[in-house]
């Protein structure tokens, strides 16, 4: 147990650059607009805040299992991975290039609370451009795989972007939702949602819950090597129909059905019971393999 933990390199704790270093084939990382050639956000400078050379996102060419891929990695430690103007432009540029050059996939390492509020409209516009660019890349036949397991999860606009991707690979530590816990508590009160209750936050937004609900295609350990093998395995067998309006309508219907079935519940525990999990209170303690086995045994 101790040996296996020592061999593990946590995705959650790693920086965006460390994640890429462990995710891509060794030596294949080739950054576009590296730190020495780019400038920090002028908007943050106007607000008297220090920026980051890469504006909190790394975009690169690389290989995964010897197949050419593009990768986008957000740095959650810089301003919560939030999307500003330059940050967003780098992501959009990479996705548009993918639609033209057609790599085997775009790996999107999401770790973000959403729009960078300091950059207001520029950040909002960037998010909407990212959404369109993700769908354009998919329509061009390039799968966009979201990898979610960082400390900021995928929230706000980036939560929507994650769900627009072809599929999501998530770890138990990863989180995915629209409004963040603190936002819900601020707007609707602590009776509605207690953001200090970390266990509750994970039971409602965490990787295990998202995987049980079918929102994420794959659950992996919090380990860079596990994300690498998960993404590799996933790409090997991946094919998807071109996104269409009919597809989106079907997805919308699924969400409406979910709302009708679960809207009155307060906690993931109740949802899991309704899904047919015999002992919902045991779910938070299950390891990854046991949870995957449980999910596969659920009635559909």
């Amino acid at each position: 147990m101790i040996a296996s933990l020592a061999a593990r390199h946590s995705w959650f704790e790693a920086t965006a650059r460390a994640r890429l270093a462990g995710l891509l084939d060794p030596g294949s990382f080739s950054e576009i607009l590296p730190p020495a050639e780019s400038n920090p956000s002028p908007h943050l400078a106007l607000l008297d805040l220090p920026g980051a050379f890469d504006d909190g996102v790394v975009v690169c060419y690389g290989q995964l299992g010897k197949r050419p891929i593009f990768a986008i990695a957000q740095e959650g430690q810089f301003m919560g991975g939030a999307v500003g103007e330059i940050h967003g432009a780098k992501i959009v540029g990479m996705l548009r290039r993918a639609a033209q050059e057609k790599p085997a996939a775009v790996l999107f390492l999401i770790d973000s609370g959403g729009v960078r509020l300091h950059e207001a409209n520029a950040g909002l516009i960037a998010i909407s451009e990212i959404m369109r660019a993700v769908l354009d890349a998919r329509a061009a036949g390039v799968p966009v795989i979201a990898l979610v397991g960082g400390s900021c999860g995928a929230f706000g606009g980036m939560g929507i972007v994650a769900k627009l991707c072809s599929a999501i690979v998530i770890s138990e530590e990863g989180r995915l939702a629209l409004s963040g816990p603190e936002v819900i508590e601020t707007v609707a009160g602590v009776e509605e949602f207690d953001s200090k209750d970390r266990a509750l936050v994970w039971r409602v937004t965490g990787g295990k819950h998202r995987y049980l609900m079918g929102d994420c295609a794959m659950l992996v350990e919090d380990d860079i090597a596990a994300f690498r093998s998960g993404a590799t395995e996933f790409l090997a067998g991946w094919s998807e129909p071109v996104p269409s309006v009919a597809h989106l309508r079907a997805g919308q219907q699924t969400l409406e059905n979910r709302l009708a079935a679960y809207a009155s519940y307060r906690d993931g525990l109740q949802v899991w019971a309704a899904l047919g999990v015999a002992e919902p209170e045991s779910v938070p303690l299950l390891d990854r393999d046991a949870l995957v086995a449980l999910k596969e045994g659920l009635p559909t």
């Binding site: 020495a36 980051a52 810089f78």
Partner: protein, 104 residues
């Protein structure tokens, strides 16, 4: 935010990875970008920091670093979000090790 510029005399350092980057602009942390400069016996440093009024502390930390490590021939750019002197020293050593091709 405050911008600080320094120049220190320092023995020349061999370079292998140019530029080298380490650290993240997160709370209590900083990022350091080391590039080659034109003065082989000097190290130039530009700092952008969220914490105002610590110019003398920066000078002391950087002076001590440039004396104890060969760092000549480099231009160092720092974006700081309130890192302590101990963290700054650690990251400088890390960045310089990477610049020399070793890493830590």
């Amino acid at each position: 935010m405050e911008t600080l510029d320094f120049r220190f005399d320092s023995k020349p350092v061999p370079r292998a990875a140019d530029p080298a980057l380490c650290g993240v602009v997160g709370s209590g942390n900083l990022e350091i970008l080391v590039k080659s400069g034109i003065e082989p016996e000097a190290c130039r440093v530009r700092i952008k920091t969220s914490a105002r009024g610590f110019g003398e502390t920066w000078r002391a930390v950087l002076d001590s670093f440039a004396t104890s490590h060969p760092a000549g021939g480099t231009v160092i750019a720092i974006n700081d979000m309130g890192a302590t002197p101990a963290v700054v020293t650690l990251r400088l050593a890390q960045a310089l090790a990477e610049y020399q091709g070793g890493g830590l």
